[in-house]
């Protein structure tokens, strides 16, 4: 689950009221975000159910909080879809994971011990690591400081002695490379494969 923003006090009516007030704006956002009217309806319903289950209350920005929750629900669904697609694709191969040796020394791996998701994640980690290491020097430094070590753009700019917009350009370049490395050959092609500002979709 995508972590939800912390909500300190219990007063469900506050968020419920904000929901009623902003439902159509949130729905419009979800339509734009998913480009799928039915999916947007589903998610706005799910948001309502979540709200009823959460003991949450007066927060500084109830409206923003609801949008954020809605956005996170989209992310969760996308991730779940991606995982399901990856599972479907690798099922055949995974079911033949163990190749017994002639002397029968190979033992079965407890499937609980090595969930295929963990293996897929490990694979993805390696791909990411390779892609990061293959980045152009400047982009790699800026990317690692910002995305891996968590420095702000301003801190990265100071550390590398370049402008903030220089940092942004480096990071955009890095993300472009990583997108290619990860999404274009990602599990089951489950990710959106359109390269928005270069070649258009290839499937």
């Amino acid at each position: 689950m995508t972590p939800q923003p912390p909500v300190p006090h219990a007063e469900p009516q506050g968020l419920a009221a904000a929901y009623d007030e902003n439902r159509s704006a949130i729905l419009r956002f979800l339509r734009a975000r998913t480009r799928d009217a039915a999916e947007a309806e589903d998610i706005v319903q799910e948001l309502w159910i979540r709200l009823r289950e959460t003991s949450s209350g007066p927060i500084a920005n109830a409206r923003g909080y609801l949008f954020q929750m809605a956005n996170n629900l989209v992310l969760d669904r996308e991730r779940e879809r991606r995982r399901r697609a990856a599972r479907d694709k690798s099922w055949t191969e995974q079911s033949h994971t163990l190749v017994p040796a002639p002397d029968n020394t190979v033992q079965a791996v407890d499937p609980q011990l090595l969930p295929e998701q963990a293996l897929a994640d490990a694979q993805e980690g390696r791909r990411l690591l390779q892609a990061i290491q293959a980045l152009p020097e400047g982009a790699r430094r800026a990317f690692c400081l910002h995305k891996i070590e968590g420095l702000s753009h301003a801190q990265v700019a100071a550390r590398l002695g370049i402008s903030r917009s220089g940092v942004e350009k480096h990071i955009a370049l890095a993300m472009k490379h990583l997108r290619r490395a990860l999404l274009d050959c990602g599990p089951a092609g489950s990710a959106p494969s359109l390269d928005t500002d270069e070649h258009e979709g290839h499937d």
């Binding site: 975000r33 923003g64 996308e78 963990a118 293996l119 694979q123 690692c144 928005t196």
Partner: protein, 317 residues
């Protein structure tokens, strides 16, 4: 925020999507402006969806990436060691790269084994034997972090207060006291335990994968596979006694180990990369290893300069 985002949109859809992603981390984001931006062009929505997905996957891998990127030398700095194969080299480098915050700064040492195995004694009675052609970077205040390229044998006295973390083949092996061998090739790992127990982190896994005495774990292939086999204690790091013992290992990992002892690159044709090999090879002076492997497996052995390429016998390439 909105102005900044709009000027970003002119600079590039991806840059704008990155800015919006950063903005949505705050509840105070201008959600209506974000909605308008998403509606303006299907390309905006696609770019944002990709950025959001990429960020989510990065976030999930971040702890492991952080460790691996800190330990791994920056690309390009690897070049120096390619020519250093002749003798064992010991280099102490101040491990204070740009990626390290000052508090974490510590001295890292690189050990490289040339044509012969290199036995090393580290802090707290930890003994490491590097196979020929292998390299290890040791860091941490108690020499508890290692980054291995190639093959090594570890003998670690039990000390509940200290855990070794050894990065190899892109995986992290943990150990508190045992004797074991790690062999690694690009993305592949063999962990064979003679005594005690060791564990491997697979990024994103709920728990570590444990390997007990008398077991070996192989991690290889695409999609990734992990499998256990039994192994006799004497066969763990058998190269210390002049033999290489393989239990059902993928040919690429076998070739990586053979390369170390042969002192030249042994490559495997992609078509047969996932074939398995079980058997014992006598190391000798290393020069016959690749030919012997090819002979046993019925492969074509092609000598290409100083490298040896193994291919299917009917391969005409």
């Amino acid at each position: 925020m909105t102005d900044a985002v709009e000027s970003g949109a002119q600079a590039g859809v991806l840059e704008a999507a990155l800015r919006w992603h950063a903005a949505t981390v705050n509840a105070d984001c201008d959600w209506d402006a974000f909605t308008l931006w998403l509606e303006a062009d299907p390309a905006h929505q696609r770019a944002y969806a990709q950025v959001a997905e990429l960020e989510a996957r990065l976030a999930q891998q971040r702890p492991v990436l952080q460790q691996q990127l800190r330990e791994a030398p920056a690309p390009g700095s690897r070049r120096w060691w390619g020519g250093a194969a002749a003798a064992a080299v010991l280099l102490a480098t101040l491990f204070f790269g740009w990626q390290r915050l000052p508090l974490n700064a510590s001295v890292a040492q690189d050990y490289v084994a040339g044509g012969e195995a290199l036995a090393m004694a580290l802090d707290a009675g930890v003994k490491v034997t590097l196979a020929p052609g292998s390299r290890i970077r040791v860091s941490g205040h108690h020499q508890e972090k290692m980054d291995l390229t190639g093959t090594a044998y570890f003998d670690v006295p039990h000390d509940p207060g200290r855990t070794l973390a050894i990065v190899a083949g892109g995986y992290v092996v943990h150990d508190i006291g045992t004797r074991f061998e790690i062999s690694s090739a690009a993305g592949e790992l063999k962990l064979a335990v003679a005594e005690g127990e060791a564990a491997v982190d697979l990024p994103g896994a709920e728990q570590q994968v444990r390997v007990a005495a008398g077991q070996q774990l192989l991690v290889s292939g695409a999609p990734l596979r992990a499998e256990y086999a039994s192994i006799a204690g004497d066969d763990v790091a058998g190269w210390r006694a002049g033999r290489l013992v393989f239990h059902n290992e993928p040919l690429t990992l076998v070739a990586a180990q053979v390369s170390l002892h042969a002192g030249r690159a042994v490559t495997v044709d992609e078509a047969i990369a996932q074939r398995r090999f079980s058997g014992v090879l006598t190391v000798g002076d290393g020069s016959q290893l690749a030919a012997r492997l090819g002979e046993i497996m019925g492969l074509a052995v092609q000598v290409r300069g100083n490298a040896v390429h193994l291919a299917a016998a009917d391969s005409r390439r």
